[in-house]
């Protein structure tokens, strides 16, 4: 049923990532609701701050953790602004999970390239945790992550674990380096040049600003990866998450119900999609 009743959650922890982004850890208060809540990597929630509004946010934590849900949020306006004022212990509500997900099972026994631009790392964390939880089911895993400034790189405190414990080839790049930046400089597509791609046995997941999709996916296409093995997560304005308000419609496709995860072939054929 389409309802506006959410699960009430307590904010149990807030991690300040940068001046603009925070990681909110939520715990569904009702034990039964907490136990039945489950989601798939790539899905999103409608997060409600009563009195301020309801917004779509990707679930940024591991599907195997029933105790907490993590949301990585950038301060953008009214609702996110209110959240940024909130302290641990405050109450919010969530509806969902909504939308499609990355086909993690289909990707088993293959190489995976995860490409994140800016805040695109937020929806990528769930598939990344999934891979980490089932590491033996996947072959080579690359995480290519680019931002404008070095200070915008999120979750740097988890990089070592991802690299060393989970054997993920993690590479970062920034557009505008700071004096102390020692890594690579340039656009995210440059990182693709540095890895050996086996097109017959590789899947890609690409999350980031719309401009990035075309460049990255077209380059992967040139490398020979079929478009139906590249997945993107689209962002649209959303008010219901249930295919009813039409705000997220692209052609005859609802980003909230048919997406947000699409394979690149479907998106390529959709006018106004990216």
């Amino acid at each position: 049923m389409q309802t506006d009743r959410g699960y009430k959650c307590r904010i149990t922890n807030i991690v300040e990532l940068t001046g603009e982004e925070k990681l909110f850890q939520l715990r569904i208060i009702d034990r039964h609701e907490r136990q039945i809540f489950s989601f798939r990597p790539g899905q999103f929630l409608m997060l409600e701050v009563p009195g301020y509004g309801q917004i779509p946010i990707s679930i940024s934590s591991s599907t195997s953790n029933n105790e907490f849900i993590e949301l990585c949020i950038r301060k953008a306006g009214r609702v996110t602004g209110a959240l940024f004022q909130a302290k641990a212990g405050a109450l919010v509500a969530i509806r969902g999970p909504f939308g499609s997900s990355f086909p993690m099972d289909e990707m088993a026994d293959s190489n995976i390239i995860l490409v994140a631009g800016g805040l695109g790392i937020a929806p990528l964390r769930a598939p990344l945790f999934w891979i980490n939880d089932h590491r033996d089911r996947y072959n080579k895993v690359h995480l290519l992550y680019g931002t404008k400034e070095p200070s915008q790189l999120l979750f740097t405190y988890q990089f070592d674990e991802w690299k060393k414990v989970n054997h993920i080839d993690l590479q970062t790049i920034v557009e505008n380096p700071s004096p102390e930046w020692q890594g690579k400089t340039g656009m995210i597509t440059e990182l693709l040049n540095d890895i050996a791609i086996e097109p017959a046995n590789t899947y890609a997941i690409v999350c980031g600003p719309p401009v990035m999709f075309k460049f990255v996916c077209n380059q992967l296409d040139r490398e020979g990866i079929p478009m139906n093995r590249m997945f993107v997560s689209l962002e649209r304005r959303m008010h219901c998450g249930m295919g009813k308000c039409c705000r997220c419609m692209v052609g005859s496709t609802f980003t909230c119900v048919d997406g947000p995860v699409f394979d690149y072939w479907s998106v390529m054929n959709l006018q106004e999609a990216i």
Partner: protein, 359 residues
């Protein structure tokens, strides 16, 4: 379905009894246009006398009686850092009188969208399930094009449908509730002559359409013509006012707003009908707008009505009432836009010869 006839006088008595016992809405003259034509709207009525049975068309559709322009989705009461959420589905039974065939089709389309699929809307359902609908046929206005979309007749979505056959109404009774009510009144089985008059009436309605819009193959046309200059041409005229969507029987897009109660002890989440022609319809965080131009938004409305929905629900969402065309201050209407688009295409298909002259 059961077919009966009833004299107009007896029908008025039936409606009067119904209206007096229930919350009811029917067509009423609310104003007069500059050219002297009456302006009708569906309004609350308390007796049959108040109803303009011989009305032409209402300015806006009956949609808002089931899908209000604004509606509370939930209410929060704050206490000691915690809150309580209440959700009420409004549920007053209603009688709607005098809906045209295309108006009922409009509601059938809303049913498809809002009640089918993975997430049916309990808000809409609460309104819809307790609504008693009486339809009435009519001779089309010169700009109606419901026949082009096959909505000049309707076979479901009403309790009772009345066809005007002179001094009687030919009744199509489509619910046991309607039949039970009507049994108290003088209804009769139709005679052969009544049947003949019904056929003549239907023929007359069908032949009276002055406006036609060719919608065959429109979904693929629209796809091919995505970049057509006609979108800019019509978009440049559009005032982005959203009136077309408000009067339309099938537009259902919405926006949500939060209101904090005075006294700060509660807040409500409200839904408001919206229009894809409004500037911020497709704007997302960071200020990026996926449909920045007037033409992009106007085009999207046409796509939603004539293409997107056709693909999803296997039918076009427009019923051809032309309310949008009548209400638009910029003089934009589906007939002109679609014809313009088809001309564009036709001139391309016969690219060797010059474009046909536009009428």
């Amino acid at each position: 379905m059961i077919y009966k006839v009833i004299s107009k006088k007896e029908f008025t008595a039936f409606v009067d009894t119904l209206v007096k016992a229930n919350l009811s809405y029917g067509p009423k003259q609310v104003d007069t246009a500059k050219n002297g034509d009456p302006i009708y709207q569906f309004k609350e009525v308390h007796s049959a006398e108040e109803i303009a049975f011989d009305y032409t068309a209402t300015h806006s559709s009956a949609k808002h009686l089931l899908l209000p322009y604004s509606e509370e989705l939930s209410h929060f009461t704050f206490r000691d850092g915690d809150w309580k959420q209440e959700i009420a589905y409004e549920n007053t039974p209603k009688v709607l009188i005098g809906l045209r065939a295309c108006d009922i089709s409009g509601l059938n389309i809303l049913d498809d969208v809002l009640l089918n699929g993975k997430f049916p809307s309990p808000y809409y359902l609460a309104h819809r399930k307790n609504t008693f609908i009486i339809g009435m046929d009519h001779l089309p206005l010169p700009d109606c094009f419901c026949k082009s979309l096959n909505h000049h007749t309707v076979s479901k979505g009403f309790n009772l449908f009345c066809s005007d056959i002179g001094d009687k109404y030919y009744l199509s009774i489509n619910s046991s509730k309607a039949y039970t009510y009507l049994k108290e009144f003088a209804i009769e089985d139709p005679s052969d002559e009544d049947d003949c008059r019904l056929i003549e009436r239907r023929k007359l309605i069908k032949q009276s359409f002055r406006t036609e819009v060719e919608v065959t193959g429109l979904p693929s046309f629209l796809d091919i013509e995505f970049d057509s200059p006609i979108w800019k041409k019509w978009g440049d005229k559009c005032l982005n006012c959203g009136t077309c969507a408000m009067v339309c029987p099938t537009c259902y897009c919405y926006d949500t707003k939060e209101h904090i109660d005075t006294g700060l002890e509660g807040a409500s989440r409200e839904k408001q009908l919206y229009s894809c022609n409004l500037v911020d319809f497709a704007e997302v965080a960071g200020g990026h707008n996926f449909r920045p131009g007037n033409g992009d938004r106007l085009k999207y409305r046409y796509y939603h009505h004539y293409r997107g929905f056709a693909e999803n629900a296997n039918q076009q969402i427009c019923v051809g009432c032309n309310r949008c065309g009548r209400a638009c201050l910029a003089d934009i209407n589906p007939k002109d836009v679609i014809n313009d688009l088809r001309m564009e295409k036709e001139s391309c298909m016969i690219c060797a010869s010059p474009s046909p002259i536009r009428t």
